[in-house]
């Protein structure tokens, strides 16, 4: 028996010794392939600006189906050390020297005050893309949503659209194979795909050249124009969506207007949520005021799979807000809000912005009052600097900074942030996200196996 017990002790002892104390040093066997550093020249930096507002009926307003650009738009920008400033009558291709937004950026703006359009339309000039989500638009009576596709390259593009309405994806003829010829701007009235639809989101996919993609939304009540916006590309679907730049003003007056006239009901702020996936999305939206000056709200809702729904943002007083949506499925989001510009309302669509660790640049539109709405969707505090001046923003909060018109700024953060410019001219409002693009170039790491 002694030998048996001894063997047991031996085995248990050895087992424990091996399990607890035996540690082999890490031995490298073979080499992982290392990526090769390749020096490449970046693509010539270009930005495309959509130009002035598109109006139906030609210059005289009588040629239906013909969209022409009306008025002039002002471009403010920055290319390396030189400022860009221009007034344009049509789409504009800017060619720069710096490869990223930090050195080369531009924004365009136009306060339209004509028979067919009234309001501020401002948008960042963009380097172009092949994919875009646009969470905005209304095709009901008196409302017009136009898809603007600017192809400033020498290569044609073919575009496909997918519209997500309240009852799911909108089917119809002509949604694919749409031609966007080289060097031209193609304008598509979305009412031809989704007539009278009040609520929808658009997914644009193109093959061939990269396009500048915007959605121009316009409101005319009776014969009086009452709102205009140029909506840029939204962030990709995500379970967390950050929407900066919901700056509400003249809420009481607008509410009274809506009460008095049903045609002004769309001046109330709404949150638009699209669930492009195959499952229903249950979300919670936190509308959060900046600086503690305004209290927000919390909204919960469900969006059926493949559809878009609007949710009224109730009980919000004037203030600077941002929206954070947390969902169990990837969603897209955008907020429409209005202001009074004199006696007429104007509206803006604040789109969601991809949280990015920023090293970007932007220019505040000349002749406009511009504020930055900065949202930190992280739990932890984030430090960032604007033109060298450092700021910090607590976790899950937002901050507002005022910037000077016509001035270019650089912005850099140590963690991800979502930032938009809120632009105000004569009471008209527009929201344009800060873009952090960078042309691929310099030294790249490439591993061919």
């Amino acid at each position: 028996m002694f030998r048996r017990v001894l063997s047991l002790i031996l085995v248990v002892g050895l087992g424990l010794t091996i399990g607890i104390w035996l540690k082999f040093p890490t031995i490298q066997v073979g080499q992982s392939p290392t990526a090769q550093s390749v020096k490449v020249q970046p693509k010539e930096p270009t930005l495309v600006c959509p130009g002035p507002v598109f109006v139906n009926g030609g210059l005289n307003g009588v040629t239906l189906g013909s969209f022409t650009q009306s008025g002039t738009a002002t471009i403010s920008g920055h290319d390396n050390s030189s400022a860009i400033s221009a007034t344009i009558l049509g789409e504009k291709l800017l060619t720069g020297h710096a490869a990223g937004s930090k050195g080369f950026n531009a924004i365009q703006g136009q306060f339209a005050n004509g028979q067919q359009a009234f309001g501020l339309a401002a948008a960042s000039c963009v380097p172009g893309s092949n994919q875009a989500w646009l969470v905005a638009g209304d095709n009901s009576i008196g409302r017009e949503a136009l898809l603007v596709l600017a192809n400033a390259t020498s290569v044609d593009a073919t575009v496909s659209l997918q519209l997500y309405g309240t009852s799911g994806p909108i089917q119809g003829a002509g949604l694919s194979g749409i031609s966007a010829p080289a060097g031209k701007v193609t304008v598509l009235p979305l009412s031809s795909f989704a007539p009278k639809a009040e609520t929808f989101a658009v997914q644009v996919s193109s093959r061939g050249a990269e396009l500048g993609i915007w959605l121009q939304q316009k409101t005319v009540r009776g014969l009086t124009p009452g709102g205009l916006d140029l909506v840029g590309v939204s962030a990709e679907p995500s379970k967390t969506v950050l929407i900066p730049g919901v700056f509400l003003r003249s809420s009481v007056a607008l509410a009274n207007l809506a009460t008095a006239n049903k045609d002004f009901a769309d001046t109330k702020p709404i949150l638009r949520v699209t669930a492009p996936g195959e499952k229903d999305a249950n979300f919670t939206a936190q509308i959060q005021g900046a600086d503690g000056a305004s209290f927000g709200n919390v909204l919960q809702g469900t969006v059926p799979a493949g559809s878009t729904r609007d949710f009224a943002l109730e009980d919000l007083t004037d203030g600077n807000y941002s929206v954070q949506i947390n969902s169990d499925q990837p969603v897209l989001g955008g907020v429409r809000f209005s202001r009074l510009s004199g006696s007429l309302p104007d509206f803006a669509w604040a789109g969601s912005v991809v949280p990015t660790k920023l090293d970007a640049g932007f220019t505040a539109l000349a002749g406009a009052t511009t504020k930055l709405s900065i949202v930190n969707g992280n739990k932890a505090k984030v430090s960032f600097s604007v033109e060298g001046k450092t700021y910090s923003i607590p976790g899950n909060s937002n901050l507002v900074l005022t910037v000077s018109a016509g001035t270019s700024y650089s912005i850099k953060s140590d963690q991800t942030l979502s930032v938009s410019q809120v632009i105000d001219i004569k009471g008209g409002v527009s929201v344009a996200p800060i873009l952090d693009y960078q042309n691929v170039g310099g030294t790249l790491k490439v591993l061919v196996r």
Binding site: V38, K43, E44, S129, V446, L447, R449
Partner: protein, 903 residues
């Protein structure tokens, strides 16, 4: 005129026998006319009568010619040739001479040869040939009961104590010394026959014959090889000399192929000891054709066909072989008994798998594996990559020395490809289906395998069932199945089988079966194939299994001759890779399956359950057979240490060690120990406690196996977009690039247009990162990719065309969005659309029709050797017909004690 007989005694190094033979000649009732002694011994033999000394190198024909010199050759003069290992009975010569009186055409008379050890056993009475030219000794082994006592015609007689007419002998040119030793007798008789003479046997002429030549006791030099070689050479000689010329030439031409076939046939017969003889004889026959043809010069005018009635019938051949086998088996059994290493059937006949309701448990395990139900053609994801849908492509990759990766890579393919080839061959029309079915059957097969192994330790069916169930639901096995890690699954299934087969070959375990040589070779064959498969599937297990095999060989040193051959197939398939990785030997421990980027996690409680089983296992050390338990526990600890060592190895990205298979081996030993403990228990209470503990462990593990989510997804087996697949099917050398942005680096995979399937995975390539990335072509391609992704319009189309890159694919992902946009704007590329694998572009100006496929032979010397070895062992592994004696036939074995493992 009276008959004259010259007795010719040929002496060669057997003085005592020669003296006895001379005495026998002198004691004949019919005295020979004269006695001539010819001595070719190394040292001259002292005999009462003067002998003529002949060179020891002289052959029999020369010796006889020397004896006949100066003597007349006429029909009344006969030569009686007596070998020094023969002792003719006193009436032998008179009976032989009497037989000659039957006919004037009789030219040769053979005697009835009796065994020297068993005096009434016939060792030869005439010789004949089978259909295939093998020499048949038709009445060998029979007891002489006067049943053959009639003079009768035969095809041939042995030269020992034959009486041959001297004129006929001289007419045919005597014994042909060009013929191999064992063919001379039959050749002489056949030539006499073909010259129109008769050859008969006189059974009353009895001769005791030691048969030293046939027994190989005169030395291999005399025979021209060992007995097996000599016999085969004799067959070849006779066919080349006596077959019609066209047939003989055809036989000669087919001889290499025939030799190859016969080698496999010998393996199928479980007679690997004949391999060398077959090879040597085949080469000899093929290379000495002119000498054989020269022997045809005086073969006789009558066609060999005329001798057909004297040839052995099929029944006679069959009976002859059966007798030979029986004799061999009896001899081996006796030798084994004398050695004392034979085994006995267990006194308590255990219930077999079916009687133990093994099928029921297998069915239960299949139900538990519901997530792996084979409802699809293939699986991908996790560690799984589909095989090619073309079986020939898998065959081409097994044992290949050239890999279709990048520019083409010269390196040995993974040994695991042989396992994949074997499995996929089961459903060769849809190779992936076998793998899908394997995942579903894995637990059931592991159960059956472990059940077999546990039968080495216990006879109780419920204990085997319980232990096998525990093994089949081990968490590590569950992980491998859910991840589609085919290599670990194969290793998990086969390891217990391997242990069982090695134990059988070594004669270890509760019941033995290695009573016959053929059966032992079967186990050796099976163990060899299994070791190769396990080693290929889990290379880290190789060192462990070889250590175990070494230990077994050490404890069963008498079985070393068998066990030595077990690693041969493993060596055959691993040697090329081992030589390739000679500078990085630890690379041989790399696992052949793709490692998962995020390994699947198991619940913590599964470790506690395994701890409980380990506790039960430890109790085995306190039982009576603690030495066996200590051995198993030691092996488990060794496996554990080795697992920790392999875990400490850091392989290149995407490669890991076979740690899961090692962990399975550790727990196989733990389960074996637990069951060994149970087999020692007598008390019902203790048995109940032990089984309760194991069932408590089994239940959560079965639940885990039932619920653990699959990491794999259904697939149609394609790995590239349909467009590329179809172009690959048409046959083209076009390649394509897969570009992915990962961790700020563009990862580019350079693949053949048909994509990389599971069989294309190559460890040698994975370990050759440094050499390939320094290659100028790879650097040029990197530059082109850099220019493409930056969309600067500077990408050099020439580099793409020169490297036959026809397509570029970018997998769909958020990170690749900018990459897609860049490639869209390139004028070198033309969009081919969005595919399930991502965005695809065609390189402008290069089409599949411009680049036809370069044929690559699927064969190489390496492959032939590997395939030959594997097939040989597979043939060896197939059990032969049950020819071994039943226990009741061999009473001498019944009282044998238990084997050494049962100490």
């Amino acid at each position: 005129m009276s008959t004259q007989v010259t007795a010719l005694l040929v002496v060669h190094n057997e003085p005592a026998s020669a003296l006895r033979a001379l005495q026998a000649i002198q004691e004949q009732t019919l005295k020979p006319t004269r006695i001539v002694i010819l001595d070719s011994s190394e040292t001259q033999t002292q005999l009462p009568i003067a002998s003529q000394t002949i060179s020891p190198k002289s052959k029999l024909g020369q010796i006889i010619q020397a004896g006949l010199s100066g003597l007349s050759s006429d029909p009344n003069h006969w030569l009686w040739l007596v070998h020094d290992d023969s002792a003719p009975a006193p009436t032998a010569l008179s009976e032989l001479v009497l037989a000659t009186k039957n006919s004037e055409t009789i030219a040769q008379v053979g005697a009835l040869q009796l065994s020297t050890t068993r005096s009434r056993e016939i060792s030869q009475l005439g010789l004949t040939l089978s259909r295939f030219g093998e020499i048949i000794n038709p009445v060998r082994g029979q007891r002489d009961q006067a049943q053959h006592d009639q003079v009768k015609d035969v095809l041939a007689v042995g030269t020992s104590s034959m009486l041959v007419r001297t004129d006929a002998y001289q007419l045919i040119g005597g014994i042909d010394d060009r013929a191999v030793a064992l063919a001379t007798d039959v050749d002489l008789s056949m030539r006499l026959r073909r010259h129109g003479f008769r050859v008969v046997v006189a059974p009353r002429a009895k001769v005791e014959h030691q048969g030293l030549t046939l027994a190989g006791k005169r030395g291999h030099k005399w025979l021209g090889g060992d007995t097996k070689t000599a016999l085969r050479k004799a067959t070849i000689q006779l066919r080349l000399v006596h077959d019609p010329l066209p047939l003989a030439l055809l036989f000669w031409l087919a001889l290499p192929l025939l030799t190859f076939y016969r080698m496999f046939w010998r393996l199928a017969q479980k007679r690997p000891s004949f391999l060398w003889a077959e090879l040597r004889s085949g080469l000899w026959g093929f290379l000495t054709i002119f000498s054989r043809l020269a022997s045809r010069s005086n073969a006789g005018k009558l066609p060999t066909k005329s001798l057909k009635p004297l040839r052995a019938t099929r029944a006679e051949v069959s009976q002859h072989k059966r007798q030979a086998l029986d004799a061999e088996e009896s001899a081996q059994s006796l030798v084994a008994f004398e050695r004392g290493d034979h085994e006995q059937e267990a006194t308590e006949q255990p219930r077999n798998f079916s009687q133990s309701y093994g099928w029921l448990f297998m069915a239960l395990l299949l139900a538990i594996s519901w997530q792996q139900l084979p409802l699809q053609d293939a699986v991908s994801g996790g560690s799984a990559t589909p095989l090619s849908n073309d079986w020939f492509a898998i065959f081409a990759r097994a044992g290949a020395s050239w890999q279709p990766i990048g520019q083409g890579f010269v390196a040995p393919s993974d040994p695991f490809n042989w396992v994949l080839l074997s499995i996929s061959s089961l459903t060769f029309w849809a190779p992936n289906l076998s793998l899908v079915i394997l995942l579903w059957l894995a637990r059931g097969l592991a159960f059956a395998s472990a059940w077999r192994m546990l039968s080495l330790l216990t006879a109780k069916a419920w204990q085997k069932n319980l232990g096998a169930l525990l093994y089949s639901v081990l968490p590590v096995f569950t992980l491998a199945i859910s991840a589609g890690d085919f290599a670990t699954v194969v290793a998990g299934i086969l390891t217990p089988w391997l242990v069982f087969a090695v134990a059988r070959a070594a004669g270890l375990g509760r019941s033995g079966s290695a009573r016959s040589d053929a059966r032992t070779w079967s186990w050796v064959g099976l163990a060899g194939v299994l070791l190769a498969a396990v080693g290929a599937a889990a290379p880290a297990l190789v060192a462990l299994t070889l250590a175990g095999l070494g230990l077994v060989a050490f404890t069963k040193i008498r079985r070393f001759g068998y066990l030595f051959w077990i690693p041969l197939p493993l060596a055959a398939i691993y040697l090329p890779l081992a030589l390739f990785q000679i500078g990085e030997p630890l690379a041989l421990l790399a696992h052949p399956a793709r490692s998962m980027a995020l390994p699947d996690a198991l619940p913590v409680w599964s470790s506690w359950v395994l701890g409980l089983i380990a506790l039960v296992a430890l109790a085995a050390l306190l039982t009576k057979r603690w030495v066996v338990s200590l051995g198993i526990a030691g092996f488990a600890l060794l496996a554990y240490v080795f697992e920790l060592f392999v875990k400490s190895l850091q392989f290149p990205a995407g490669i890991s060690g076979s740690t899961n298979a090692l962990e399975a081996a550790v727990f196989l030993a733990v389960v074996a120990l637990a069951i060994h403990f149970g087999s020692q228990l007598k008390s019902r209470l203790a048995l109940a406690a032990m089984s309760t503990a194991l069932v408590v462990g089994l239940t959560p593990l079965a639940y885990l196996a039932f619920t653990h989510p699959n990491q794999t997804q259904s697939s149609d087996g394609s790995v590239v977009p349909l467009l590329l697949q179809k172009q690959a099917e048409q046959g083209t050398d076009l390649q394509f690039l897969v570009i992915n942005l990962q961790d700020d680096a563009y990862q580019v995979q350079w693949q053949p247009i048909g994509g990389l399937h599971l069989e294309d995975r190559n460890l040698a390539y994975s370990f050759s990162a440094r050499s390939t990335t320094k290659d100028a072509t790879y650097q040029a391609l990197s530059q082109v990719v850099g220019n493409l992704v930056s969309a600067n319009g500077l990408a050099d189309a020439r580099v793409l065309r020169e490297n036959l890159i026809g397509y570029v694919l970018v997998p769909t992902s958020l990170q690749n969005a900018a990459l897609v946009a860049s490639l869209e704007s390139s004028s070198l590329l033309e969009s081919a659309g969005l595919t399930p694998f991502g965005e695809l572009w065609r390189v402008v100006g290069l089409s599949a029709s411009d680049v036809p496929q370069t044929p690559h032979s699927p064969w190489s010397i390496t492959k032939v050797v590997q395939l030959g070895t594997l097939l040989g062992f597979a043939l060896l592994a197939i059990p032969s017909r049950g020819r071994s004696r039943r226990p009741s036939d061999s009473v001498i074995f019944i009282d044998q004690s238990e084997s050494e493992l049962d100490v």
